[in-house]
């Protein structure tokens, strides 16, 4: 079982990344984590959903948005977070199932796509990819966040 805090640097733990330091095209290195039934239940309760998950073809599966709590780890493992980051936009595409009955090992990775300034705010856009142990894509995400420094 991998809690998101096990793989995600927390705000204040390390000097926060300055916007100037984000590099367009930079690879966000891969990392592995395991989603357990306990994590599925805790996440589901945190979004006011049934902790038992869903039943598809006789198997219990997690709501796919559970990957949201691992999303920022993709960015922060290379670029530690500063306090006060705000999310501006986010896109998820779901492809594969995550079990709610047994552990699912997932590999996350990504890339910085862009950074830009708009109306006095500085933004970073990156893609995150999540694959299963068999290499098949489980989900992809594209996130835009703004940071105060």
């Amino acid at each position: 079982m991998t809690r998101p805090s096990d793989v995600k640097p927390r705000e204040g733990d390390l000097p926060g990344t300055r916007w100037d330091d984000f590099e367009i095209g930079a690879e966000l290195p891969s990392f592995s984590f395991t989603i357990s039934p306990e994590i599925v239940a805790e996440y589901s309760r945190a979004i006011e959903n049934d902790p038992n998950g869903y039943v598809l073809d006789g198997k219990r599966v997690a709501i796919p948005s559970i990957l949201s709590v691992y999303l920022m780890a993709t960015l922060y493992r290379r670029y530690p977070p500063t306090q006060g980051g705000i999310m501006a936009g986010n896109k998820f595409r779901y492809y594969g199932l995550i079990s709610a009955d047994s552990d699912t090992t997932i590999v996350g990775s990504g890339e910085i796509l862009d950074k830009f300034e708009k109306r006095g705010r500085r933004y970073v856009r990156y893609v995150a990819r999540f694959t299963g142990a068999d290499g098949k894509t489980i989900a992809e995400a594209e996130n835009i966040s703004t940071f105060p420094n």
Partner: protein, 113 residues
Amino acid sequence: MKKDYLITQEMIDRYGEINGDNDIIHYDVEYARERGFKAPIAHGLMVQGYASALGAEKYGADWFTRGEIEVKFVGPLYPDETITVEIDDEGRLDVSAGDRTCIVGSARLRDAS
């Protein structure tokens, strides 16, 4: 299809626990006010989770392998507000707190006409 949620600071804190973050903008009143908000703000991804659950209800099994959700956070979501998460027949997603729109976007199936 729509669903209401009363956001509380306890819910924000609980999401922060599983999310593993320590961003003080989600619980420090003074800091949030310094940043121009009237109170700590809810995690955008928490509310996107509500919308994803609504997507699962709307689209069923297809949502898990062909679902696509896109959100733009256009306004803050505060504790002690009741929000409405709605996905219309065309897959347009809207999250509002009273008459204030907070999130716009879409929740649709890929390859769906």
